[in-house]
Assembly symmetry: C2
Homo-oligomer: 396 residues x 2
């Protein structure tokens, strides 16, 4: 056997395997994946767009494209997403990636030397943690309160650990569902400039707001180019297209484009052209209007059922948007150990908390539930099963 | 400015920038890109396939997929491409990548530690060289004769350098156009087993054969799982779709899938479904029948014009397939230095030889010409211009 590179020792597939295994079994009600509701995909719009662009631009769509992305999509993203969010950016600040995950990977390739410190919210998105570890980062957790990262504590951590990067998911955080306040976003942009910290602002859920007011991204308060913003079409259109965006300083983008050229040359042009037309045709606002009530109903259904069926000693977040509810269980519960029984015997699955933490023990008693991808009926049935299972263990 | 990771110091965008810059200017006849002929894209077939799959499977196509690839494509690739080429493989041996470049990147991530030796043909594909360097490989050149790598010399190099990987493009090599004989393929498979060497067999051009007999891939002679084969839909269907394949030992594939999960989650499902239907619908053989005469005419046109317009002191390969003719010029010519004048004054572009070599000086007098993406008329005009330019410098 030929030995693997050392970087692969840092990467574990265990949690992801569990997520996928129990999500592909149709007899199991899965609260695991961060998937959109299949019922609200704008299928007819996408079909019409494809017909249109294939009639108009087939040769361009089928050929190689630029690594920085398909120009009509870069422009459409600026006009319809970045500028309305208050981001001062022009075309050289925008590149297109094969999903937001590729953005995290390219940024990591480009900036992380083995031994560099990356600050991450605790808990944080498990795939991103794995990517940072693959490139040899030392991860340091940042504690959050109900409103996300606390700027004063962040500054203290910077002084102690001299980090290169802060990774944050500021809106409807994955997995906690928490949202960073506007005031704190301003503070974090300032702190980044002051300490020459690179902030990766991973913001795929920001448009999935069901209550409250939209908050501008940290990037909109960035005056020094220290913030890199990643957005995604996975949650606002369709994850199967694999299209994400990066907004960054133009010098940084030159390096990221170089990394991308050696990674997948360019993102699928057909997907990029669909996203461009979706924005330019003005379909996004209407689609969000269709999605929001469906997702809100599912969120409320989940919260109602948690209240009704779960042991009273379980605490859960009440997010204003996004896809996830985060649950903290009493200490006798080990969610990682219970997953197999939950899935195989009780036919319901979730993501245990441990892979979201640098120290897996910190996530032993917590779990993440997705509410967007099941109907209210399935949510009730699934939470009822899970609640009964947990009751049987807690014996309240 | 936040400093980049050390691995980026090994990556240069200079050559690629030149290629792209002069290829996007419509006033310049470009022989630079490795693009298919736009005229022969099977546009109507692709449109019909898209309509079909969007009517049948929209929700599946728009959702997340498995990192290892879309099951119908993995099966179709086995049935229509791998098995007919004599490869003994089953479903767990096949994964789908976002173009063959991603395959090279995933294999490099997974296997290359800084300081590992990778043997590469001299010259070799410039993007792959950059990817190996990014992960810290030490590249060692393998000299080729007219039939590719010489197995005896390979064995000598293995004894001296103890390499982990051999990277080879065995069929219509990029950039040289050379093809490895069947006998040598068998020898290389045996050498790989004997020395526990990992062979990356990058074979995107194998189906673009215009003369002579098809030769089975090295992978078909591999009995120990030491060979990883990458193929691509970029040359046989459309590069804009970004779909490639890997055939490897199932244990190796587990690691590659893990790396892929943290790179782009999965390849665009729409692209994968198009490729699957293209194979299952039986369209590939007919499409190759359409392409081959077009490409052969362009190849012959280029060879005829090189003979007619180029200085007699220039030597060129006569490939039996693929996309490229490789030219060696007299030593007073520095193709890298002349590119700017060729493009800006004479309105014709090529890829200079230097980025294809580990030591750029070795490629100073050579250049690569693509013949697939221009009509015979444009080829004649372009080669005439380039020939006149070189005549003016050589003064034969």
């Amino acid at each position: 056997m030929i030995t693997y590179a050392d970087r692969m020792k840092n990467v574990s597939g265990e949690a992801l395997n569990d997520i996928l295994k129990y999500s592909s079994d149709p007899s199991i009600i899965s609260f695991s994946l961060g998937s959109p509701a299949k019922e609200v995909y704008p299928v007819e719009t996408i079909k019409n767009i494809i017909n249109d662009i294939m009639n108009k631009d087939a040769a361009k769509i089928l050929s190689y494209g630029q690594s920085e992305g398909y120009m009509p999509l870069r422009e459409a993203y600026l006009n319809h997403i970045a500028h309305p969010k208050g981001i001062d950016a022009s075309i050289e600040n925008v590149i297109i990636t094969t999903g937001a995950t590729q953005g995290i990977d390219l940024i990591s390739q480009t900036f992380i030397n083995p031994g560099d410190v990356v600050l991450v919210e605790s808990p944080s998105f498990l795939t991103s943690l794995q990517v940072f570890l693959k490139y040899g980062a030392i991860l340091v957790p940042v504690i959050m309160d109900d409103h996300g990262i606390i700027p004063e504590l962040l500054e203290d951590l910077i002084k102690v650990h001299n980090p290169k990067i802060l990774y944050t998911i500021p809106t409807f955080q994955n997995p906690s569902g928490k949202t960073l306040t506007e005031e704190r976003r301003k503070d974090i942009a300032q702190i980044a400039s002051k300490y020459n910290l690179l902030v990766i602002e991973d913001d795929p859920y920001c448009d999935l707001r069901y209550r409250g007011e939209h908050i501008p991204p940290i990037k909109s308060f960035d005056k020094t180019g220290n913030v890199i913003l990643t957005n995604s079409f996975s949650k606002i259109l369709a994850p199967g297209l694999r299209v994400g965006t990066i907004v960054a300083d133009s010098k940084i983008n030159e390096a990221l484009v170089l990394a991308k050229g050696g990674t997948d040359t360019n993102t699928t042009i057909l997907s990029q052209a669909i996203c461009a037309e979706f924005l330019n045709g003005g379909y996004l606002p209407a689609h969000l209007n269709d999605m929001v009530p469906v997702y809100l109903e599912r969120l409320e259904s989940m919260l109602y059922c948690l209240d009704k069926y779960f042991p009273k000693s379980c605490k859960y977040t009440i997010p204003e948007g996004g896809l996830f509810v985060w649950i903290e269980m009493p200490h006798e519960i080990d969610t990682g150990k219970l997953l197999e029984s939950a899935a195989n015997e009780h036919k319901v699955s979730y993501v245990p908390g441990y892979p979201f933490f640098i120290n897996p023990d910190d996530g032993k008693h917590s779990l993440r539930l997705n509410f967007s991808s099941n109907t209210p009926d399935r949510i009730e049935e699934g939470i009822k099963r899970l609640g009964a299972f947990f009751h049987s263990i807690i014996n309240e």
